[in-house]
Amino acid sequence: MVELKIRQPVPGEEIPDPAAIPALVPGAMAHSRPYLASPEHQEAIGFPGELVDDWKERAIGKLGELVANSRALRVYLDTCVKCGACTDKCHYFLGTGDPKNMPVARQDLLRKVYRRYFTFAGKYFPWLVGAEDLTEEVLDEWYSYFHQCSQCRRCSVYCPYGIDTAEVSMAAREIMDSVGKGQKYCNEIIGKVMKFGNNLGLQEKAHRATLEDLEEDIEDETGVAVRLPLDEKGADILLVTPSADFFAEPHIDGLIGYAKVFHHVGASWTISSYASEAANFGMFIGSQDNMRELMLRIRKAAEDLGVKRIIFGECGHAWRAAYNFLDTLAGPFDFLDRRYPVPQHICEYTYDLIQKGALNFDKSLNDDIRLTFHDSCNVSRASRMGDKPGGQYEIPRAILRAVCNHFYDMPADTIREATFCCGGGGGLLTDDLLELRIKGAQPRMRAMQQVAQDHGVTHIAAICAICKTQFAKVMPEYGFEMDDVVSVHQMVSNAILLDGQNTGGEEDDEDGEDGAERAVSGG
């Protein structure tokens, strides 16, 4: 399925346009569906164990309830005029040619049922407006195609009404969960966070041991005793980061980067073992109840530890959830120091320190890397950094430029608000959807191939645990190596000069070939 291997691109070789529109191939991805959640995974997070007998009535009832409680869903289901603006905007459509992966067609899978049961035209003239009864075939199609949406919101940028397929696919997943047809990957993980505090099921003892090992590694390498504190009461800052940061490559190098930044400025900070996860898969399945419950863990950890601020590590959807939903669902956060934004992103924190000149870098330590930056969708189109619109694009780039001499952006129509998803977001980062993930990565990978050819780019930096894991998995399919993806704070870590640090002979760390596979579930 992969035509291109261009690790060393031939000069002048034509790389296809990342946004090239494929011919329609109806049914091309009809076979794609993730594993069903088991009864115990379903019940652990408040859903029926398996498909209930009266699923049809309950599904329709749930749809009505969701529409009545979400202006977004109601407006989005009503307003579409089928203009076609979104039809070529989804990376899964571009990568597969399956017409049901066109955003409007994906929405229509739910909209046709909404029309049938909730609109005048659909009740009386279903054939005219494309309304359809809810049948088992329709439910199966929902399961297939609403798990081919990474909720990246690219379509919503281009829709004249801002219709966001993410909202529609979240609603569809919520309906399916409510009748007992949930997805294993997401629901099992949510259960793990409820039980252990993180997606990986990592328990406190192992967590502490991992962090201690990391401290030793950093000291061996730099000669500086950089700490990774766990559950330290009275710390100023609670760092909430995706649990992949504790285990996977290149995530872990990002964590080391945060720790070095905190260390260098003498910040008092801690990680919590109770809320050791920034990811919130409750968002992916459209479940506000579950999303809220996961957030209340973060609130409780902040209260118990008595911190003054909460900072989130590199994670795309976690930042959306934290930035936009945390205060609404788990707030108000009056007990925190309101002079700081609640919450704050680690990139905002590091950027502020760079602006103040508080960090020292030797950019040449990253000279073996020619870098581009992947705007993660939930950061780009669903949140912000800094105090200006678009700060989410400028701040990570400013950090990278401060620590790296060779930075090149991918083509303009594939970055910033137009960024292409990595192909693994929205609860799809599971091996049972690997074909979809590889095909969905195609637009992003072609854009990277272009900068590889034009500027000799060797690495792509990301600020999202899902993007990092996805890239590590799919990049070999497109002619790159699995460790050609780096964390933004890994670049910071490479270039930062700590006080008392060893000098010389360590500009190149040759590790990290074998780590990425460990964290397939690491949100």
Binding site: L24, V67, A68, N69, S70, R71, A72, R74, V75, D78, T79, C80, V81, K82, C83, G84, A85, C86, T87, D88, K89, P99, A105, T119, A121, W127, L128, V129, G130, R153, S156, V157, Y158, C159, P160, Y161, G162, I163, D164, E167, M194, Q288, R292, E293, L296, R297, K300, Y323, N324, D327, T328, L329, G331, P332, R381, A382, R384, P389, G390, Q392
Partner: protein, 247 residues
């Protein structure tokens, strides 16, 4: 007889149109928006949001980013329709407002633009496989209806002229409840019948997409989640007691 029939049709259609739009707006405005979901980068203030919405309404900014052809045909159609509707005000006002008199020629050119835009949109719906795939019969029929209205209107100007003085008397009569005879002119009756059909279909179809934009949370919310706590009506009471309580 004919006059009474059309009088009743227009009263009925007007009621359906006004009540239908009012109902939809009421429904949208009373449905809660529980979470902050602006598509970013988004304005930080309500004033900024007003500017963003104005750019969408006047320029179709997002559509322009998406697809230049759809934007061109869609914008030309809507702008043409607006001018045509303004031109039609002369049939409902006496004396006719000065600016309506002045813009009469513009309204005439606009009617050609409107039909051209509609034909362009329909051609895309037929010839672009992606858009053909997503089209239901009603999507084609609505374009046909609008084109038929435009063409029958143009026909009365250029092919079979109708007694517009009498038509105006009929509509003023409707407004002042003093019915005047409607000319029994086939093209006029076709035009008016299609307009009645449009007025009735409008509130129960996708044609009512204008209000949707103003109520679309991805467009109408300011990006201020960290500055102002967004409290949703449906979430003021806790959904569940405490984190982990049920375990």
């Amino acid at each position: 007889m004919l006059t009474s029939l059309y009088a009743v049709l227009f009263y009925g259609a007007t009621m359906v149109l006004v009540a239908g739009i009012a109902y939809r707006v009421w429904q949208y405005s009373t449905t809660p928006a529980p979470l902050k979901i602006p598509t970013t980068p988004a304005p930080l203030t309500r004033g900024g949001v007003a500017v963003r919405l104005a750019r969408e309404v006047v320029l179709f900014e997002s559509l322009f980013k998406a697809n230049k052809w759809i934007w061109l045909f869609g914008w030309v159609f809507h702008a043409g329709l607006l001018l045509v509707l303004m031109r039609h005000l002369r049939y409902f006002t006496e004396p006719v407002w000065g600016w309506v008199v002045l813009m009469q020629p513009a309204g005439l050119y606009a009617s050609f633009a409107m039909v051209a835009g509609l034909l362009g949109l329909w051609a895309r719906r037929i010839f672009v496989p992606r858009i053909r795939y997503i089209s239901a019969p009603s999507d084609h029929l609505m374009l046909a209806l609008l084109i038929a209205i435009g063409v029958s209107g143009l026909a009365m100007r250029y092919v079979a002229r109708t007694d517009i003085v009498a038509v105006k008397a009929f509509f003023l009569g409707l407004i002042y409840f003093d019915w005047q005879p409607l000319p029994a002119d086939p093209v006029l009756l076709i035009h008016l019948t299609l307009v009645v059909a449009l007025m009735v279909i409008f509130p129960v179809s996708k044609l009512l997409h204008g209000p949707g934009l103003f109520f679309s949370p991805s467009r109408n919310q300011p990006d201020d989640a960290r500055e102002r706590r967004h409290v949703a009506p449906s979430l003021t009471t806790p959904l569940r007691a405490e984190a982990g309580a049920k375990r």
